[in-house]
Symmetry: C2
Subunit: 344 residues, 2 copies
């Protein structure tokens, strides 16, 4: 793919930062001062500032064997924007720091930044700072996202009430199935490099893994329809683990109905192909970057307008525990390693 | 030193975050929501928000063979606070993400966080978020600092004017000499583990390396005396490199007088012991985290009140270049690898 290879040492650290940030234009009036100084300056007068950060390490959070650098840049931004939306806030700025070993060329970093910029442009976010340095091994990415929210309209995890509806955007389990597919193809390739990867018809789950989106549309829908969730977070660790966070932090229990958990048809097919239970993929998969939130029951009518939102259960007393009601009529405790209990 | 070793796996990721953040109390009214949600919320109404970030990688930015984890935690915070002060702003919040291999125990991370908390307490900063994860190799630290500044009173690098005085806080070269000492002792130890490190009388330079401070006092002095620097940055890469940043971004040249460059007596002695020129250590050493700034000439009287500030030269036309005038009466071009030119 690469025809030329420019060594990073030919640019130097400051030359590299200039090179990587040369085409970036400011999109937010609140960005007073951007890349090129000790710090950026942001003006959120009359609004509250939201901040979140994530560290992504090669070999732990991503595998460059099947992750194109452009997609990795895009996803690194998305996972942080998703956390800002999960506060019912709007992301406005990011900083990005990377460290990389000398196996990476300037062209490789350009590809990574192409993805970063594509995400920034799509979500209207300004890149305002960062840092580049060496690592002894692998690629390390740290992204911090800053956002804004009208005073005291942010939504926490700890404020769900008994009887609130539990809702989720989009569908779940796709990213995990994409990962399962890529890991399988990687294994086949390592055993026999002549065999080309077979991703035929698996665009959906591969896209869910490699190019996730953040649910800006859901936050906009809330604003347009005067909906304020009673609690919210994004689904990054899997529905089981994340719904337990809402329960724990709100001191409540829950009832979740298996049949209501949204799974895409393509994910369902892939699950059967791999001999997996689609529900278990949705419960434990993670990395879907959908929004998990609770609503007062009287808001039910409003959300039926939005096909991207599923009601999957309700919050109960803490004494009633956190339960999954299966299609077959059984009740299981939801645990962070839910499939263990579920499997028996 | 450690009597017990608790495996991180015994706590789990969320248990670990709870454990590490359990004793932390909020110090800033602007901290609306802290650790424990998708993002933190900050209220800087009527002020502008400053944001900066740094990524520190074991083996590149620090060596755990001679860096106690507590000091590392402290320094990781300080280097970011220093960037906020360099904007003439006040740091208010930080986020910290770490990734580490399984050679680290819970006790080791506790030591690291002790240092983080000590810095937060000393500088009045709240830890509001972060992330812990695994790495395949080594310890990786990403810190983002947030600060506040009265509208449009932040100070950039690009706004120095011709004739402005060039000033620096504290003294320079100490951290580099501390590093030289530690690297020498490490080499001796690796060759002969029976020999104990000889740090006798070297507290000053070792402290400059392992436990730097950020110049909060200088920013407070500016505010109390109605001084606004015309440009400012912190000295992290060495005086040569950093004064060239001010020149380049302000489209000016400079004259720096060797005899005015502040070097601590202990650093001077150490330099002679190692056969190094103290001026070269100050010019190229880096990591001193002092403030480098320019002032209008009419502010000269005001700063003579502060013994921690040295005037080392002035800004000139760009055509006159960036020059160092030596004690011997010679003139050299300042370059980012200044000692090369200087050495001949």
């Amino acid at each position: 793919m690469e025809n030329t290879r420019t060594e990073i040492s030919s640019l130097g650290e400051f030359g590299l930062i200039d090179h990587l940030t040369r085409n970036f234009e400011i999109q937010n009036a609140s960005t007073v001062l951007s890349v090129g100084d000790d710090a950026a300056v942001i003006d959120h007068f009359g609004k509250q500032t939201v901040v979140t950060t994530d560290l992504l390490v090669e070999g732990i959070h991503f595998d460059l064997m099947y992750t194109p650098l452009k997609h990795l840049g895009y996803k690194s931004v998305i996972v942080n924007l998703s956390d800002v939306y999960a506060m019912n806030a709007t992301p406005t700025q990011i900083t990005i720091s990377i460290a990389f070993s000398n196996r990476f060329s300037v062209e490789a970093l350009d590809e990574f930044y192409e993805g970063v910029y594509a995400a920034c442009e799509k979500y209207g976010v300004d890149l305002v700072g960062g840092d580049t340095s060496s690592s002894q091994k692998g690629f390390i990415i740290s992204v911090t996202a800053i956002g804004e929210v009208a005073p005291d309209t942010f939504v926490k995890r700890s404020t769900a009430q008994k009887g609130d509806l539990i809702c989720v955007s989009g569908d779940l389990g796709g990213a995990f199935l994409g990962l399962t597919l890529m890991e399988r193809e990687k294994k086949i390739f390592l055993e026999n490099p002549q065999i080309q990867p077979d991703l035929e018809g698996e665009d959906y789950i591969v896209g869910r893994l490699l190019k996730p989106e953040a649910r800006k549309d859901i936050i906009e829908f809330f604003a347009e329809n005067n909906i304020t969730p009673t609690s919210m977070m994004d689904v990054s660790d899997g529905l089981s683990s994340d719904v337990l966070h809402l329960c724990k932090q709100s001191h409540l229990g829950c009832r979740v109905y298996e049949e209501k958990i949204p799974v895409h048809e393509a994910a369902r097919k892939a699950a059967f192909k791999f001999g997996l239970d689609p529900t278990i993929c949705a419960l434990n998969g993670g990395e879907d970057y959908e929004l998990l939130f609770t609503l007062k029951q009287e808001d039910y009518e409003k959300i039926t307008l939005n096909e991207e939102i599923s009601v999957i259960g309700y919050m109960s007393e803490i004494e009633e525990g956190s339960k999954l009601l299966t299609k077959g009529g059984n009740t299981f405790d939801i645990t962070a390693q839910g499939w263990n209990a579920f499997k028996q």
